[in-house]
Assembly symmetry: C2
Homo-oligomer: 432 residues x 2
Amino acid sequence: MKKIHVGLIGFGTVGSGTAEVLLAQAANLRRKTNLEIILKTVADIGIPVLPEQFSSTTLTRSADDIFNDPEIDIVVELIGGIEPAKSFILKAIAAGKHVVSANKALFSTHGREIFEAASQKGVEVGFEASVGGGIPVIKALKEGLAANTILSIMGIVNGTANFILSQMTDHGLAFESVLKDAQAKGYAEADPTYDVEGIDTAHKLVILMIMAYGINISLSDVSIEGISRIEPIDIEFARQFGYRIKLLAVSRNHGDHIEARVHPTMVPEDHLLANINGAMNGINFQGDMVGNVLLYGQGAGKMPTGSAVAADIVDIARNVARNCVGRVPSLSYLPSEIKDCVITPMEMIRCPYYFRISAMDKPGVLAAISGILGAHGISIESVIQKRRQSVGSVPIVIRTHEAQEQAVLEAIARIDALEVVSEKTVTIRILE
Amino acid sequence: MKKIHVGLIGFGTVGSGTAEVLLAQAANLRRKTNLEIILKTVADIGIPVLPEQFSSTTLTRSADDIFNDPEIDIVVELIGGIEPAKSFILKAIAAGKHVVSANKALFSTHGREIFEAASQKGVEVGFEASVGGGIPVIKALKEGLAANTILSIMGIVNGTANFILSQMTDHGLAFESVLKDAQAKGYAEADPTYDVEGIDTAHKLVILMIMAYGINISLSDVSIEGISRIEPIDIEFARQFGYRIKLLAVSRNHGDHIEARVHPTMVPEDHLLANINGAMNGINFQGDMVGNVLLYGQGAGKMPTGSAVAADIVDIARNVARNCVGRVPSLSYLPSEIKDCVITPMEMIRCPYYFRISAMDKPGVLAAISGILGAHGISIESVIQKRRQSVGSVPIVIRTHEAQEQAVLEAIARIDALEVVSEKTVTIRILE
């Protein structure tokens, strides 16, 4: 039985999960591959010894011990972050090793350099675990949907943000209170910025877009808006209109330009994405041949992510064993076929909108507001105007027909400048 | 650019769809594979000429022209049914051709013979399109979830049955009336037996189970019950209990025995499977490492199924081009590793149950019924007893805690023998 040797850098949550998956599934994988996948070396500076079950694996403090080991075929980077992860990966590639990593922050910002180096060296880079945790979403894009032009991507790809929105929805709680609770329980990090401000979601969208369309794109191309401004009242109005609010990664392919955006979105309650709750992830691809395909599962966690890392290891191991490395290009498209593209300016996107306007409860206010919307070509689908509960402003909630972002920005600027409007209007895009 | 030649047998809905997908995606596939996939020959006895856009493809009435053509690498069988499809596939294999097919009826009944022949000849058999239409479910099982022991499979894999149940649910209509309407609109076949009686769903479950567990199993191992006995009143009671009724393929892996069953099932309304409506399909795998992964999409149709057939063709073409045929075993497990298994007897399965008992509205009836259930160790979770609308029997609806099928069969036999019970009790299993 042919042996494939793996070196693992980083024995944290996902690193130890991957090691456990490889150990637990060794017999199962032999039945499928006729290969013995051996975790030969772990490099980690934070642990004194490896757990007992990894007695045949060597622990080192220096990743160089992995790069310099000619027996190691595949280097798995699971320390995350930009440096030293990037240097480690480039060193591994330079040493002729294949690479597997879950590092979405790195690939979405420095991916081009890494994939060019890998292509020149003729090694593979696997990153199934970088998007959607254990869900085989990268494999589906690269192979299962190969015979499709992808028309759109819509995904819930950050479990923390989805957990917070789900808790706010189910219990009518405020963002801050749910976040604190999530932090106390370890579901959200001490600094939750990446998760709740949509940055992690954008990292993942970048990776999906590169794979789906064969384009050069990086994080700065994505328009990003997080969920920290969502209030329980918006969730309640969404419910009245038949929607649930989700933090979505959205990309639509218009052929000559492509949308790239992350923002809270009102999703129709009978849409499958509206029913993906808690920390779960779901990603919908629309292919021109296949129509909509949605994949759902745990987007994070030790064992699910380990399952995806292991799938990449197995994939590359099969190629090494059969001498067909590069059988499927790492980025789905051949390196020479990856093109620059035009990202749709946010002002050009079109969708229905939700506005929550805080206005004084005076006669003529709604007329003034609807006059401005009409002047900007924005057509109203429905209005909810609440009675005043106490002194001060009341919410006027408007759902529009499809409108253009540019017109919305201009109209809302004028509305917010009205004397009777007391706060900045909350605007949420609606998924058709 | 290397050329891969394809011969297609059967130019019906899926056959012509596959041809159209290959044509429409030719440039896209070249950007991904550096291969030219050429539809060289179509064999079909029902059409006089091929549509104009296939001017470089030869039409023949004899499939032998494909088997005898040394240039053809891959034979695609899309005529369906057992014969002559089986003979064609065996001839193609004997001629050293790789095979792609969507033929679930054939693979679930004669798969063993076909896969043994292919294994001996060293050719691949692709059948992504046989389950879940365009959804890359086979690829997910074989590769994306490779590093998992599959613990359970639950799927809505027949679009016709799901469409009928969805219409019954949304409009409160009777089975017969929805079926007639579906037949008139072409959503259901003139003879709907395979779809509504669960046979097609069982075909697909067999294929998924072989792939998931590495076992020998065929159609006769599956316990099958269709949806034709479901009445609007059951759907309405299901709704009151918080469930929707779906025709599910269910398999649970108990290690030393494995469940294989198809039947109407009450699915909790917040479960994603309960929200898969119309003709859509959804398949949930539970892996021991990854947890639950669900895939959703169009389970049938010309272009979605063509997309899946094309994905198999691309997969095999890559292997042919890189000389790594058999890189992933066709059945996920190595042929030598596919084992016999014990199928769980239906009497042994355990789940909560729904009973609709038609009884005379007399004092003491509920006491008699609950006495029998109690004597068989079946514990009641809730009861709905409707007032009598007119003369005759009234429905007594019971939801139980988890119970064993054997006890349920015995108890219901005794209940149905009561003098006050006027009709055979309707029993529906509930998904926990």
